[in-house]
């Protein structure tokens, strides 16, 4: 495959992969509640995730290590287990939210409760992992995620005020409801900087046999792909700011969010919203399930690989099977998918330093990355944004739970 084609495909899959239930729910909430004022959180999260995704690809290309197996090797079992448990819990919650998102999309168009859909969509996700290849998951489902471009079309059709958007891209203090403002901000950061994204990316680089020659491709894909993905997330926020904010609608249920695209796109907008939710959640559910199975297998030295037959990587396959079964049952139990999404995204922000700090040490260790170590700007950006997100989450999550 030519480099140009690799870059193009990588960018498309990054765009499709960026927008999932977390990004849709958090940006829709932000636009509805605060207009354009939280665009800065998407921008900040995107800067951080660009650095992290680029680093994870670079680590794999140079050292032939995924993040997890390098963590285990460099820091020993304790730090590895800490990151494994932290990621495992977060991924479980986020996967439940993605299964919930898919189920809700089907509820919207069929009228049958999402609780009835949780097991069938869980089964579909599992079947694709069991039978599908890595390229099907990496390219096929993510490319389908391009249906999310409907939000960009919708945002353009609504002709938003550019001045207000530019002002919103600059961080600002809240003028009302500070707890909700900061909780929404950290939820957006958590949705943008989802660790499963870069675990999946680094494992994918190993599955695709990357070497040093891919460093340029990696940088282009991480930068351009994630930036375009962020543009789609901002488009969701803009549509919510234009459609919901003036009416005072602040979605507490996904049923409300489904009205977003009907203003600019009419009846097509309703179905495009459901399709975007379904496909983007499916893509994310596949990536999260694989990322978690990769984490266990790579760190514990099991055989792994999406292109390996399940019987030859039994424990790897068992991890995603159990994850999907558990999260489908959580949704059958009737947990509110929107609240779960927002909470799990905020929790992701809280745990970011556990994941990013050891990773940064790896990326500055010459034994792993040789001459391709991090520039200080990347280190500083990731440390600052991870710490900021984590500290705000530490304060905002309890207050939000207390009813603030």
């Amino acid at each position: 495959m030519s480099k140009l084609l690799k870059i193009a495909l990588g960018i498309f899959t990054s765009i499709g992969g960026f927008l999932e239930v977390g990004a849709i729910a958090t940006t829709a909430q932000a636009g509805a509640a605060f207009g354009f004022r939280l665009i800065w959180a998407v921008v900040l999260g995107t800067i951080c995730v660009i650095f992290l995704v680029e680093m994870s690809g670079r680590l794999a290309a140079v050292s032939r290590h995924t993040i997890k197996d390098a963590l285990r090797e460099r820091f020993g079992p304790r730090i590895f287990l800490l990151t494994l448990v932290s990621d495992g819990v977060i991924n479980l919650l986020v996967l439940a939210a993605e299964i919930g998102g898919m189920s809700l999309a089907l509820q919207l168009v069929t009228g049958i409760s999402f609780r009835w859909w949780a097991v069938p969509v869980g089964f579909l996700t599992w079947l694709l992992l069991w039978k599908g290849s890595f390229s099907l998951i990496e390219n096929g489902v993510s490319l389908l995620g391009m249906v999310a471009v409907a939000f960009l079309v919708g945002a353009v059709m609504l002709d938003p005020p550019l001045n207000a958007m530019v002002r919103g891209a600059w961080p600002s203090l809240p003028t009302e409801r500070p707890v909700h403002y900061w909780f929404t901000a950290v939820s957006i950061l958590g949705a943008a900087i989802s660790p499963y994204l870069f675990y999946f990316y680094s494992a994918g680089a190993i599955e695709d046999h990357w070497d040093e020659d891919e460093i340029g491709v990696n940088r282009a894909v991480a930068t351009v792909g994630m930036s375009f993905g962020a543009i789609l997330a901002i488009a969701v926020l803009v549509v919510a700011a234009m459609v919901f904010h003036p009416h005072g609608i602040e979605p507490e249920r996904y049923e409300q969010v489904a009205l977003l695209l009907t203003s600019p796109l009419g009846r097509w907008g309703f179905y495009l919203f459901a399709a975007t939710l379904l496909v983007s959640c499916l893509g994310a559910a596949l990536e999260i399930s694989l990322a978690t199975a990769y984490s266990f297998a790579q760190g514990l030295g099991w055989n792994w690989g999406e292109d390996v037959r399940p019987r030859d990587a039994a424990r790897f396959s068992l991890v995603y099977t159990v994850m999907i079964a558990l999260t489908s049952l959580l949704m059958v139990a009737g947990i509110d998918p929107l609240k779960l999404t927002l909470f799990s995204m905020a929790l992701t922000s809280l745990t970011l330093p556990i994941v990013t700090f050891p990773f940064l040490i790896l990326m500055n260790d010459r034994d792993y990355v040789g001459e391709y170590g991090n520039h200080w700007i990347g280190n500083l950006a990731v440390i600052a944004i991870s710490l900021l997100a984590s500290i705000i989450a530490l304060v905002a999550i309890p207050l939000q739970l207390m009813g603030g």
């Binding site: 509820q107 919207l108 168009v109 069929t110 009228g111 409801r177 500070p178 707890v179 900061w182 009416h247 005072g248 609608i249 602040e250 979605p251 507490e252 249920r253 049923e255 409300q256 489904a258 009205l259 009907t262 009419g266 009846r267 907008g269 309703f270 600052a384 710490l387 900021l388 500290i391 705000i392 304060v395 905002a396 207050l399 207390m402 009813g403 603030g404």
Partner: protein, 107 residues
């Protein structure tokens, strides 16, 4: 970095959950459902959403009303706002071809 974070924490703690704010948040939720019901009824009228979606919104709105009405802040919500919810729910029911009184009475 610690001083801006401390300032944020202080603002958050000081601004946390007084009874008046809880009442305002409940009113906020209620206004949101009033607007949602109206927007859905309008969308049904012009055919931009299917009927089965309208029914889901009505069910969700009724469930939220029931949940809100069980909270202590409910009584602090202005009667006009509660009336407004009642009329928007009746409007949505009519747009769905259901009798207006099928939505019950807002307490």
């Amino acid at each position: 970095m610690s001083s801006p974070i401390s300032a944020i924490a202080l603002v958050l703690v000081l601004s946390c959950v007084s009874p008046e704010q809880k009442a305002e948040l409940a009113a906020h939720d209620l206004r949101s459902w009033v607007a949602t019901a109206r927007m859905t009824a309008d969308a049904l009228a012009v055919g931009t959403v299917p009927q089965l979606y309208g029914r889901q919104v009505l069910d969700a709105a009724l469930e939220s009303r029931r949940r809100l009405a069980q909270r202590s802040e409910w009584n602090a919500i202005a009667p006009e706002l509660r009336d407004s919810l009642q009329s928007s729910l009746r409007g949505l029911a009519l747009a769905l071809g259901q009798p207006a009184d099928s939505v019950g009475v807002t307490p």
